[in-house]
C-alpha cells in the first residue's frame, strides 16, 4: 500500500498470497540477497498471527546477529538484547508479566555459544518462552567465522585449516535436558515453519525451534538444495513426539537431517510453579503502599 509520504511496504507474502500484518515499519531488511532470514521473517509473521494473541501482549526478544537485526523490521514490542543474553532477558520479561507471549529470535552463535549456559539452564526450568534459533552454522554478521554448529573440518575465517571441534547437537542436548517442545524446521518452507512457530508460542513451556538457515555468502556449501537433499521429515518416519529415546536417536543420526517435531511434553511452566505469581502478573502488584510490619518484628 503506497500512500503519499509513507514508505512502500516490502513484498513479503507467502506462496499462498497471504500477507502478514505488522510489516508497516520504517526500516527495511538489510540482509544479503538469498539470505534465509527473509523466509524466516515471513514465517515469524505467519507464526505470530497464527496465535491470534493480542499484538501488544506479544514481545520479541532479539539476540545479536543477522537474525537479531530484524528487531527493526517487526512492529512488535521488542527487546534487542546483548549478544547471547536474549534468553535471560526473555525469562525476566516473562516472570515480570506472564500474560505476555514471548518469542526469542537468536542465532546459533548467541544461543549455543555465547549464551550456552543460559540455553542449558533455562530449558531445565521450562520457562514459557519460544526460542527460534536461526542456525546457519556460521557467525555471519562478523563475516563468517565458525559457530558451535559448524561441522568439524570446515574452513572458515577463524579456522583456516579447518575447525577442530565437533559440532554441537542442540536437538540431542535439549532432548536430554528437559526441554518440553523441541523441533527443527527448514527456512525454505515458510508455511510449515510458520505453523511450527505458532505451535511453539502456544506451547506452555520451553519451546526450541532450530531453523536450518542457508547463508549463501559465508556458508554456500549448505545451500537450499543441499538441505533439501539431506532432510527427511519426522512425520514420514512415524515419529512419536512423546518418545524422548526415539527422538534422541533421530537427533543423533548422521545419515540424514530429520526435520519436524522431536519432542512435545505437557508440564507446568516455571511461572506456574512460582507461588508468588498465582494471583496474577508481577507488574500488576500494587506497590503504592508497602507495609513492613510483619517483617520488622524479627528485628526487634
Amino acid at each position: 500500500m503506497a500512500t503519499a509520504g509513507a514508505q512502500s511496504e516490502p513484498q513479503v507474502q507467502d506462496r499462498y498470497g497471504r500477507s502478514a500484518a505488522g510489516l508497516k515499519v520504517p526500516k527495511h531488511p538489510t540482509w544479503c540477497p538469498g539470505c534465509g532470514n527473509y523466509a524466516i521473517w515471513g514465517a515469524i509473521k505467519l507464526g505470530l498471527e497464527g496465535t491470534k494473541y493480542p499484538k501488544e501482549k506479544t514481545v520479541i526478544c532479539y539476540d545479536v546477529g543477522c537474525s537479531g537485526n530484524m528487531a527493526d523490521f517487526n512492529a512488535y514490542y521488542g527487546f534487542h538484547s546483548l549478544h547471547g543474553r536474549a534468553l535471560p532477558a526473555a525469562v525476566g520479561t516473562k516472570l515480570a508479566n506472564h500474560e505476555l507471549k514471548i518469542l526469542v529470535v537468536i542465532g546459533d552463535g548467541g544461543c549455543y555459544g555465547e549464551g550456552g549456559t543460559h540455553f542449558l539452564n533455562l530449558m531445565r526450568g521450562n520457562h514459557d518462552i519460544c526460542i527460534l534459533v536461526h542456525d546457519n552454522h556460521r557467525y555471519s554478521l562478523t563475516t563468517g567465522q565458525m559457530s558451535p554448529t559448524t561441522d568439524k573440518g570446515i574452513k572458515t575465517k577463524s579456522t583456516p585449516e579447518g575447525s577442530i571441534e565437533e559440532p554441537m547437537n542442540p536437538m540431542a542436548i535439549a532432548i536430554s535436558n528437559h526441554a518440553t517442545f523441541i523441533a527443527r524446521e527448514f527456512a525454505g518452507n515458510i508455511p510449515k515453519l510458520g505453523s511450527r512457530i505458532t505451535e511453539g508460542l502456544n506451547h506452555v513451556g520451553f519451546s526450541l525451534i532450530d531453523v536450518l538457515q542457508p547463508c549463501p555468502v559465508f556458508n554456500p556449501a549448505q545451500s537450499y538444495d543441499w538441505y533439501r537433499e539431506h532432510m527427511i521429515q519426522l512425520e514420514d518416519e512415524g515419529h512419536d513426539p512423546s518418545d524422548r529415546l526415539k527422538a534422541w536417536k533421530q537427533a543423533t543420526r548422521s545419515d540424514k537431517l530429520p526435520i519436524g517435531l522431536f519432542v512435545k511434553e505437557e508440564k507446568p511452566a516455571y511461572h506456574q510453579q512460582v507461588s508468588e505469581l498465582a494471583t496474577g502478573p508481577l507488574v500488576n502488584k500494587n506497590i503504592a503502599s508497602v507495609d513492613l510490619a510483619s517483617l520488622v518484628k524479627d528485628f526487634q
Partner: protein, 573 residues
C-alpha cells in the same frame, strides 16, 4: 552503672557461634542498648576460626571496639588468637572440662572463669549444642543484665520450634546463669538504654527491607559473599512479600533477567560482589542505553579476582564509577550504616524508575554483615510510579516515540501489554522509537538526551553526613561504611583534646563537588578509605582539583578500628 560492653565469642565454625552471638545481641538490644555486631569467619563451612563480637552502648554504638570485656573461648585457638584484645579488666570464659586445657599456658593478662558449659547443658536435659545457651546465661550474669530479658529472647527466637525446644534452651541458659552466680561476681552492672523501639539488622537485612519498602518486585542474583544474604532474606520472605526472587545460573543471566523484568515494568534489582559485578558490566551499559531502571547492589570484598571472600574492602569504588562500555548517567550510593542502607536502597528503586537508569548501591562485607541499630518511624512506605505513559499514541511509523527528546532527558516509557506503545528496548544506539541507528545526528541527540538526565540527577543529591567541632583543624573524609568507625574515633580523639570535623559521602556519584569543596576547602582533609591507592582521594582531586596529602588507608581485609584511626590521626596532626 556501666553504659557499654564488648563481648566476643570465638571457636570453630559450625559450633553455633553465629546463633549465640545473635541471641546475645538481641538481649542487649532488648536492654535498650544500641548495637554493633561484628563477625569474622573464613571461607569454609566447618572448622575455621569464627568470631562474633557484640559491642553495645546505651548512648549509641557506631563500630566494633577492640578491647573486649568478656571473651568466650570455645577452643584453644580462641585463647591464643585474641590475647591483644584483652586488658586486666577483661574476663575470659572457657570450659576446662571439655577441652582439658591448662589455662596457665596461655598467660592471659586477665581473670578467667571455668564454665563447664557442655556438662551444664547436658545436665539441664539438653545436648552439647545447648552449651551456647549456658554461655548466654553466664554472660548475662557477668554483665549484671536481666535473665528475664534473655529468656524472652530465647522464647521469641525458638517459639516456632515448639515449647519443648524453648524449654530446653531456657533451662540451659538458667543453668549457666546460676552456675556463674554461685561461683563469681559480676564484672559490671549494665544500665538500660533508650533504644528499645529500635531495630537491629545486618546491613544486608536493612538493604533487603529498604528494597521492599521501595517497591521491589523482582530480584535476581547468583550467590557471592558478602551479597548472598540479601538473596537468602528476600527468598525466605517472598511468600509474604509476593515478589519474585530468581537465583540465576550466573551473574550475567541475573542482570539480563532484571533488565527484562524492568522492560516489562517491574521494579528490579540484582546483587553481587566484585567478581560477579565484573560479569555484570555489559548489562550495566544495556540498562544505560535502553534507559531501563535498574538497581545493582555491589558488596565489596578484597580482590582482585577471588581475593579474600569473607573479609572487607573498599577497593571497587573506581571500578563501580566507570564500569561499562562508553558512558551513561548513573547514581552511585554508598550507605554508611544500617539507617542509610535502608533509606538509600528504598530511594535507589525510586531514583532508578524516575531517571530510567542505573543506580549502584555499594556496601562492603563490614557493613553488609555487621548488625547495627536503626529506626523506622513507620512501617508503611508509599511509592509513586513515575515516568510511564499509560495511554500512548503511536505515530505514523507504527511505533511509539519512547525515546523522544525531553527537557530533562527523561522520556515517558511504555510497557509491553499497553496498546499503541510499541517500541524497541535496544542495546544498540537507536532513534526515538528504539530502532537501531548509526547516523551521527541521532547518536548525538540520544547521547545528549541521556546525559541531560544527569543535571537533574545532580539536584537529587542531599546534604552529606557532616559533623563539625569548634577549633577543629582536620576533617576526616570517608565514604560508605567507614562512617561509624570515624564517629567512634572522633569520640576517642575528643577525649584526648583533639577536635575534628568529619564528612562521610553516601552519595558519591553524581559527585557532590560543591559540598566537598565547601567542607574541606578551608581545613586539612585526611581521607580514610579501605583501599591501596586512595580511590576516594583520587576522585576528590578529579572533581574538585584539591590534592589530598594526608590519608589513612587499610587494605588487609580487616575493618578500621576507632583506636587505630585515632592513633593515626595523632601521628598526622
Amino acid at each position: 552503672m556501666a553504659n557499654e560492653l564488648n563481648w566476643k565469642v570465638a571457636g570453630f565454625a559450625g559450633e553455633g557461634i553465629m546463633t549465640t552471638g545473635l541471641l546475645f545481641s538481641k538481649t542487649c538490644a532488648r536492654h535498650g542498648m544500641s548495637i554493633f555486631d561484628y563477625t569474622e569467619y573464613p571461607s569454609l563451612i566447618r572448622g575455621g576460626h569464627n568470631t562474633y563480637q557484640v559491642y553495645a552502648n546505651t548512648s549509641g554504638a557506631f563500630a566494633q571496639r577492640k578491647m573486649v570485656d568478656v571473651l568466650v573461648a570455645l577452643n584453644r585457638n580462641s585463647l591464643s588468637f585474641h590475647k591483644d584484645e584483652l586488658s586486666s579488666d577483661s574476663l575470659v570464659i572457657y570450659d576446662q572440662d571439655d577441652d582439658k586445657v591448662d589455662i596457665n599456658d596461655y598467660a592471659l593478662p586477665c581473670q578467667v572463669f571455668n564454665l563447664p558449659m557442655v556438662k551444664l547443658a547436658i545436665d539441664s536435659g539438653g545436648q552439647r549444642l545447648m552449651a551456647n545457651n549456658v554461655i548466654l546465661g553466664a554472660s548475662v550474669y557477668f554483665f549484671g543484665m536481666s535473665l528475664d530479658i534473655l529468656l524472652t529472647v530465647i522464647t521469641a527466637v525458638f517459639q516456632d520450634k515448639g515449647e519443648s525446644v524453648v524449654k530446653l534452651n531456657a533451662g540451659a541458659a538458667l543453668a549457666g546463669y546460676e552456675y556463674a552466680k554461685a561461683h563469681a561476681k559480676p564484672i559490671m552492672q549494665i544500665d538500660k538504654g533508650p533504644f528499645e523501639q529500635y531495630l537491629t539488622a545486618t546491613g544486608n537485612e536493612a538493604i533487603s527491607l529498604g528494597a521492599l519498602a521501595g517497591g521491589l518486585q523482582f530480584y535476581a542474583a547468583y550467590p557471592m559473599t558478602p551479597s548472598s544474604s540479601i538473596l537468602h532474606y528476600l527468598s525466605a520472605t517472598a511468600k509474604q512479600t509476593n515478589i519474585v526472587v530468581k537465583h540465576a545460573e550466573d551473574e550475567i543471566s541475573a542482570i539480563n533477567m532484571a533488565c527484562g523484568a524492568s522492560f516489562a515494568g517491574a521494579r528490579a534489582m540484582v546483587g553481587t560482589s566484585g567478581g560477579g559485578f565484573c560479569y555484570m558490566t555489559e548489562g550495566l551499559g544495556l540498562a544505560g542505553i535502553a534507559e531501563l531502571p535498574l538497581v545493582v547492589f555491589e558488596g565489596m570484598r578484597p580482590g582482585p579476582a577471588l581475593g579474600m571472600p569473607t573479609w572487607t574492602a573498599q577497593g571497587d569504588l573506581g571500578f563501580i564509577l566507570n564500569a561499562s562500555q562508553d558512558e551513561f548517567p548513573r547514581f552511585v550510593l554508598t550507605p554508611g550504616d544500617a539507617q542509610e542502607a535502608f533509606e538509600l536502597t528504598r530511594i535507589a528503586l525510586e531514583l532508578a524508575e524516575k531517571y530510567q537508569t542505573l543506580v549502584m548501591l555499594v556496601s562492603d562485607k563490614y557493613l553488609s554483615e555487621s548488625r547495627l541499630t536503626f529506626k523506622l518511624e513507620s512501617t508503611v512506605f508509599k511509592n509513586k510510579r513515575q515516568a510511564f505513559n499509560g495511554n500512548p499514541q503511536p505515530d505514523e511509523s507504527g511505533f511509539f516515540p519512547r525515546y523522544l527528546e525531553s527537557e530533562n532527558g527523561v522520556s515517558p516509557r511504555t510497557i509491553p501489554g499497553t496498546a499503541g506503545g510499541t517500541y524497541i528496548a535496544n542495546s544498540y544506539e537507536h532513534d526515538k522509537y528504539g530502532l537501531a541507528a548509526e547516523e551521527g545526528s541521532i547518536r548525538l541527540e540520544q547521547m545528549d538526551k541521556r546525559f541531560r538526565k544527569f543535571d537533574a540527577m545532580r539536584s537529587e543529591v542531599p546534604r552529606q553526613y557532616e559533623e563539625r567541632e569548634a577549633g577543629a583543624e582536620v576533617t576526616l573524609v570517608s565514604f560508605g561504611s567507614t562512617k561509624g568507625v570515624i564517629r567512634a574515633a572522633r569520640t576517642l580523639l575528643k577525649k584526648d583534646g583533639i577536635p575534628t570535623n568529619t564528612l562521610n559521602l553516601s552519595w558519591i556519584w553524581p559527585f557532590p563537588k560543591d559540598q566537598v569543596k565547601d567542607i574541606i576547602g578551608n581545613g586539612r582533609p585526611i581521607v580514610v578509605e579501605g583501599n591501596k591507592q586512595g580511590q576516594l582521594a583520587r576522585l576528590i582531586a578529579q572533581e574538585t582539583g584539591m590534592m589530598i596529602n594526608d590519608y589513612i588507608r587499610r587494605y588487609d581485609g580487616r575493618p578500621f578500628y576507632a583506636e587505630d584511626i585515632a592513633s593515626e590521626v595523632k601521628k598526622l596532626v
